[in-house]
Amino acid sequence: MSRQTSRLDAKKVNSELLTLTYGALVSQMLKETENPEDVNKQLERIGYNMGVRLIEDFLARTTLYLNMQPTVTSWSSSGDEFSLVWDQCALSDWVEMPNNGLRYCALIPGAIRGALQMVQLEVQCWFVQDQLKGDAVTELRVKYIKRLEDAVPAGED
């Protein structure tokens, strides 16, 4: 058996490493705070920070980051609210959840909120269904709040 034939697929390895690293981070956070609600908040904030920076890369390259193609459904009649539905997410591979209120993928709504804020859209993002909690699919609700206007930075006239 030669090693040359069993070369590793770098894309796949990186993707798996991301999943595992994220998992290690979440479990570390749970160990430190023990309050799942705090962990949700921290994950959301981390997602937000990532989204703020990710949008620039997205506008430059328009790429798919997690290789997920969620379906867009359930538009509200006023057109300011919709759902993103997916049944597979790289982040939640190999994950089994304790039933403690943790929102494992809280990174994703955070990233959406952060990224949209950078293009002057304020939105709210929350989970309606979550596969890790036994639902058939994962459904993320996105609600448009308002368009952000350019404003003078605080402290300047």
Binding site: L17, L18, T21, Q28, I46, Y65, A90
Partner: protein, 159 residues
């Protein structure tokens, strides 16, 4: 499959998280506790190694394992091979990467040299975790003398 930039951003957010934690835990602002970053690297390294070597022929010896780290493992994660591997054949290995992925975005001067340890801690853990799963207990430290070059020292612990 996830894009590389997501991993890079997550990596820097993990560092931020550790900085926040150590700010909360001690009043001495100078000291930054990077053990959390190292531990997250360890946990990820331990598990990824299990997947990487699943269909791999058994390693001949310790040196063979190190060569795997320097070539295939490094190429997958850091987009290049280790530039130099040295060993004293007594359990000390020095892996030198002349353009380490997490440091290449920084200025090459001395300006940010003091922050370099933050960006290598995860990788130290990753190597340690990977080796631990192959039954090699080690202590991994890193040394950055000039950006973006980095040397990882692996001390294998024999009992």
């Amino acid at each position: 499959m996830a894009d590389d930039i997501v991993f890079e951003l997550l990596h820097s957010e993990i560092i931020n998280y550790a900085l926040d934690q150590s700010k909360d835990n001690n009043n001495d602002k100078k000291e930054v506790d990077l053990s959390v970053v190292e531990y997250i690297g360890f946990a990820a390294g331990y598990k990824i190694m299990e997947r990487l070597t699943r269909e791999w022929p058994r390693f001949k010896d310790e040196l063979d394992t190190m060569k795997f780290i320097c070539t295939d493992f490094w190429t997958c994660i850091y987009k290049k091979q280790i530039d130099n591997l040295r060993t004293n054949h007594q359990g000390v290995y020095v892996l030198q990467d002349n353009a380490f992925r997490f440091l290449t975005n920084f200025s090459n001067g001395h300006q940010y040299l003091e922050f370099a340890p933050r960006y290598v801690a995860y990788t130290c853990g990753l190597i340690r975790g990977g080796l631990a799963n192959l039954c090699i207990n080690s202590v991994v430290t890193a040394e950055v003398q000039s950006m973006p070059s980095c040397k990882f020292h692996i001390h294998v612990q024999r009992t």
